[in-house]
């Protein structure tokens, strides 16, 4: 499951926030928060998704563009939390 963190997060983001978008456009490095894709509501939805899906819990100060701006960063945070 951990190996597919990127895939799971990507599928969630495409389904929830970018329906109809070409999946190839959303890469692991696409800026989601600073790029304007994830606003505060969407960011909280992502937080809930990764907490439920990966069984981890996030702190309020981790909800920012340093930890959640790209799929790559999200995956890195999840891995760090799980290790």
């Amino acid at each position: 499951m951990t190996d597919d963190i990127e895939g799971a997060v990507k599928r969630f983001i495409l389904k929830e926030f970018l329906p109809g978008e070409d999946p190839a456009e959303l890469t692991d490095a696409t800026p989601l928060i600073t790029g304007g894709v994830l606003d505060s509501i969407a960011t909280l939805k992502v937080v809930m998704f990764i907490e439920e899906t990966f069984g981890i819990s996030l702190q309020a100060h981790e909800v920012d563009s340093e930890h959640l701006d790209t799929i790559g960063q999200i995956a890195q945070l999840v891995r760090a939390k799980k290790s």
């Binding site: 800026p31 790029g35 505060s40 702190q59 309020a60 100060h61 920012d64």
Partner: protein
């Protein structure tokens, strides 16, 4: 490592160097050329202040060195430049205070004690600073530093302390100091809340040249915003009382909101400058006029503020309330964030102005905005919102719908903004009576322009925000460069007098007006009011006046509290206190036993004496100059000196001027002056006579003060004015009669003066500050002539003078000693020219 990539170095080496902050020679020169053009543009349009131009020059020259330095020295160099900038704008003593207090606060944040204790110590230090700022503890030496010190630490310290608690990244003292004292801050009390993490993380995280170039682009965009702001501020803003038709109401609403261009312009300028030093910060505003919903508006306007509130308050609150359910937690957190925004807004004004801003309109504004954002958020939680990272599926229908949503949001925000920035609720409510006015074709003008702008702006633009400039394809990048250089050259060209004069008189006049920063006619009027009463509305950034007020020392000359005047209970309302003496920083101010700011005089003129009674307001009384330095005293001395022969008559000028007196009040001063048997009555008008006379009459009606002059009473009756009406309605009713009011006032002065066998002379003395107040001058002069005055027009008395050398201070436009000398010299010459008409032989004119 060399920072410059010269000539034909290998591609691999060049790429490595570029990634480490290097720049090619051609790109380096290109940036320098653009910065040169930008300097010219800042100078041509006098953007902000002379201090800012100096600071910009320091930054641009600093860039030239900084870009060539090895990376390890750059942050330290930026810090040194920032500190030099503070000294350049303030002075060494004030700079030391700022840096000293700042170091103290930063030092507390890093004490080797628990986080909680450090927090408590910071709160104690904050309380001490509050006591100093609010003057509970006297510290006059610190007066000049508060707005800048406040803007550096009031929010950034909160962000920094929060990150110290949670951020695992090692702290660098140089970076910390650079963050707090960052370069352009010394010039800007209103400064974006830069996020510390972004400041640290995005430092040189992209190609250096492209980062610098984006900085130039943003600074240019900032200048364009500021020029547009000036157009709105000088030419489109209206006072509520001037709004009588739907077309004017729409203009009022749009202009009032567009004044925000100043904030967005400044923020672009500031962040653009930081880009020159490698700080690739996110955008501060994202086309906020095109917000299509309330949540969208909140996300687009002042993004740094939104991010600050989100990181420090919103997410922690949501996490705290999560057990209630996520949606409820979000709603509650959003409402609390808006309540906190109100509080922090008041907190910000406290540091900038030193006064507590507790205006219920402010509270209501944030409550309403919070409520509509919550409703909008709930809708988005349920139905989501359109997002895109690359697809393009805009149809005419979706474009039309988006345009309509944006159009509706724009007008809603305009209305809410007008409510927020109104002087009073009654004034704001009375605005809407304009809807009952005539509906002309003009009423379509603003909706049509706004609709067109929104339609064009809503055409989908692909791509994400805040992406690295290095990811932009070469073609669009080159087009962007071309646009920047062409825009720079076009703006500079059009600013040249010889060029804009070719564009027709109207356009040339408009461009000329945009080339300097000054207060609008509405703010100039407010500044004048501020001499005599406390103003609340200068606590809003919609009035540029607040910036002037931040510089005004707390112990500045204060007409209201000087004890110079007393209430009379009649139409004049106030008069000078007889035999009052005060020592001011500008000399002694003495009032004689008759209540004149003058030497003592007998009620009956001495024999063989020309007695001149002088009527006017504060400038005539000599506010800000010592006894004997007023133009009245100077002219009197010169007349007596240069015409001193045994047979020649002596001259006496009796100064009946009272600060704050408006034209109708001069009728009371005239009645008093005539009891001193003058041969000449000189009425000195200083601009905006029509509006001031109208405003005064509305005021006395509102205060139920009896009007002792028949013609003025008749006008009030004709206008249907009564004491129950609010200020805006009263002014609106009287506005059509402004000429009648002033003419009736002038006519009475002339008639009464002539009835006492004296000569009525009208002197037009301009304000030291040029501005649109001058619009009333031709009509004023026409009315004075028509009333029968001997008219002396001194409109150009200050022409060619540097305003800074002839006025008391930036926040006080009264002429200083040099200003009075200029006036005296000119008035003396004018009196000589009209000598035969004004100074009739004493034997004829004297009433001994």
């Amino acid at each position: 490592m060399t920072a410059m990539v010269f000539g034909k170095a290998s591609d691999a080496a060049a790429r490595k160097d570029v990634a480490q902050g290097g720049i090619g020679i051609r790109e380096y020169v290109l940036i320098l050329v653009q910065l040169g053009l930008l300097t010219l543009l800042l100078r041509q349009f006098q953007i902000e202040s002379a201090a800012f131009l100096r600071l910009a020059l320091l930054a641009f020259c600093g860039f030239a060195v900084h870009a060539l330095l090895p990376m390890r020295y750059r942050l330290a160099f930026f810090l040194a430049l920032s500190l030099a900038g503070i000294v350049l704008v303030l002075d060494i003593v004030n700079s030391l205070w700022i840096v000293g207090i700042g170091l103290g606060l930063i030092g507390i944040s890093h004490l080797p004690i628990s986080f909680r204790l450090r927090g408590l110590l910071l709160l104690c230090a904050g309380a001490l600073l509050v006591a100093l700022r609010s003057k509970w503890v006297d510290a006059p030496a610190l007066d000049a530093i508060w707005p800048i010190l406040g803007s550096m630490f009031m929010f950034r310290l909160i962000v920094y302390f929060y990150d110290l608690r949670h951020d695992k990244a090692p702290v660098s003292p140089v970076r910390t100091l650079a963050y707090f004292f960052m370069l352009p801050n010394a010039c800007f009390p209103l400064f974006p809340v830069v996020d510390y993490k972004a400041f640290r993380r995005n430092y040189y995280d992209d190609d250096a040249y492209r980062t610098y170039q984006v900085g130039v682009d943003w600074m240019l965009r900032g200048v364009v915003h500021l020029i547009l702001y000036r157009y709105v501020y000088y030419h489109l803003t209206l006072a509520p009382a001037e709004v009588t038709e739907p077309a004017q109401l729409l203009q009022y609403l749009v202009a009032n909101f567009l004044l925000y261009l100043r904030v967005s312009g400044l923020f672009h300028l500031i962040v653009g400058m930081l880009y020159l030093f490698g700080f690739r910060l996110p955008e501060t505003h994202n086309r906020y006029l095109l917000a299509s919903s309330f949540t969208d508006f909140w996300r687009r306007i002042n993004i740094y503020w939104k991010e600050f509130m989100q990181r420090i308050f919103y997410y922690p609150l949501v996490f705290r309330f999560r057990r209630m359910g996520t949606t409820r937690a979000m709603v509650l957190a959003t409402l609390l964030v808006f309540a906190l925004t109100w509080f922090l807004h008041a907190y910000q004004w406290f540091w900038l102005r030193g006064t507590v801003l507790l205006v219920w309109q402010d509270v209501l504004f944030w409550v309403i905005l919070g409520a509509v954002v919550v409703v909008n958020s709930l809708y988005e939680i349920k139905y989501g919102r359109e997002r895109s990272i690359g697809k393009s599926d805009q149809t005419w229908r979706s474009l039309g719908l988006l345009t309509l949503k944006t159009f509706a949001t724009f007008w809603f925000i305009c209305v809410l903004w007008s409510f927020w920035t109104a002087d009073s609720l009654s004034g704001w409510l009375s605005l809407w009576s304009a809807l009952g006015g005539p509906y002309t074709f003009d009423a379509l003008l603003y909706p049509a322009i706004i609709l067109a702008v929104i339609l064009v702006g809503s055409v989908e633009r692909k791509g994400l925000r805040n992406t690295r400039a290095s990811t932009q394809d070469e073609g669009s990048w080159r087009r962007g460069r071309l646009v920047t250089v062409v825009a720079l050259l076009a703006l500079i060209s059009v600013s040249v007098e010889a060029v804009h004069q070719q564009l027709g008189a109207k356009v040339a006049t408009a461009i000329h007006s945009l080339r300097s920063g000054h207060l609008s006619r509405l703010d100039t009027a407010k500044l004048e009011r501020g001499y005599y009463e406390n103003l609340l509305s200068v606590d809003r950034f919609n009035s540029q006046l607040w910036e002037v007020y931040t510089k005004k020392p707390a112990n500045w000359l204060d007409v209201q509290n000087a004890g110079l005047k007393r209430f009379t209970g009649d139409f004049a309302q106030t008069e000078l206190v007889p035999s009052f003496v005060s020592r001011t920083p500008y000399g002694t101010l003495s009032v004689n036993r008759w209540g004149m700011r003058d030497q003592d005089h007998e009620r009956t003129p001495p024999p063989n004496t020309h007695r001149i009674a002088l009527l006017g307001a504060s400038s005539v009384m000599g506010w800000g100059v010592g006894d004997g330095e007023t133009f009245e005293a100077l002219v009197e001395t010169r007349l007596n000196k240069e015409h001193a022969t045994v047979a020649a008559p002596a001259y006496e000028i009796l100064n009946f001027a009272v600060p704050g007196y408006q034209p109708p009040q001069q009728l009371m001063a005239l009645d008093k002056a005539l009891t001193f048997a003058p041969n000449v009555v000189v009425y000195v008008a200083t601009g905006r006579e029509l509006s001031r006379a109208t405003s005064y009459l509305a005021e006395v009606v509102r205060k139920k003060i009896e009007i002792p002059f028949g013609p003025l009473r008749d006008i009030v009756a004709r206008a249907g004015l009564d004491a129950s009406m609010d200020e805006t309605t009263g002014l609106r009713r009287l506005e059509p009669f402004s000429i009648d009011i002033l003419l009736a006032t002038y006519q009475r002065i002339v008639d009464q003066t002539r009835a006492h066998s004296a000569v009525p002379v009208f002197v037009f003395l301009p304000q030291v500050r040029e501005g649109s107040w001058q619009e009333e001058t031709p009509e004023t002069l026409r009315l004075a002539k028509s009333a029968g005055f001997v008219v002396i027009d001194m409109s150009d008395v200050y022409k060619g003078q540097d305003i800074a050398t002839i006025r008391l201070a930036e926040w006080d436009d009264h002429p200083n000693r040099r200003g009075h000398e200029l006036i005296a010299s000119r008035l003396y010459d004018e009196l000589q020219k009209k000598r035969e008409t004004i100074f009739l032989p004493v034997s004829r004119a004297s009433k001994n």
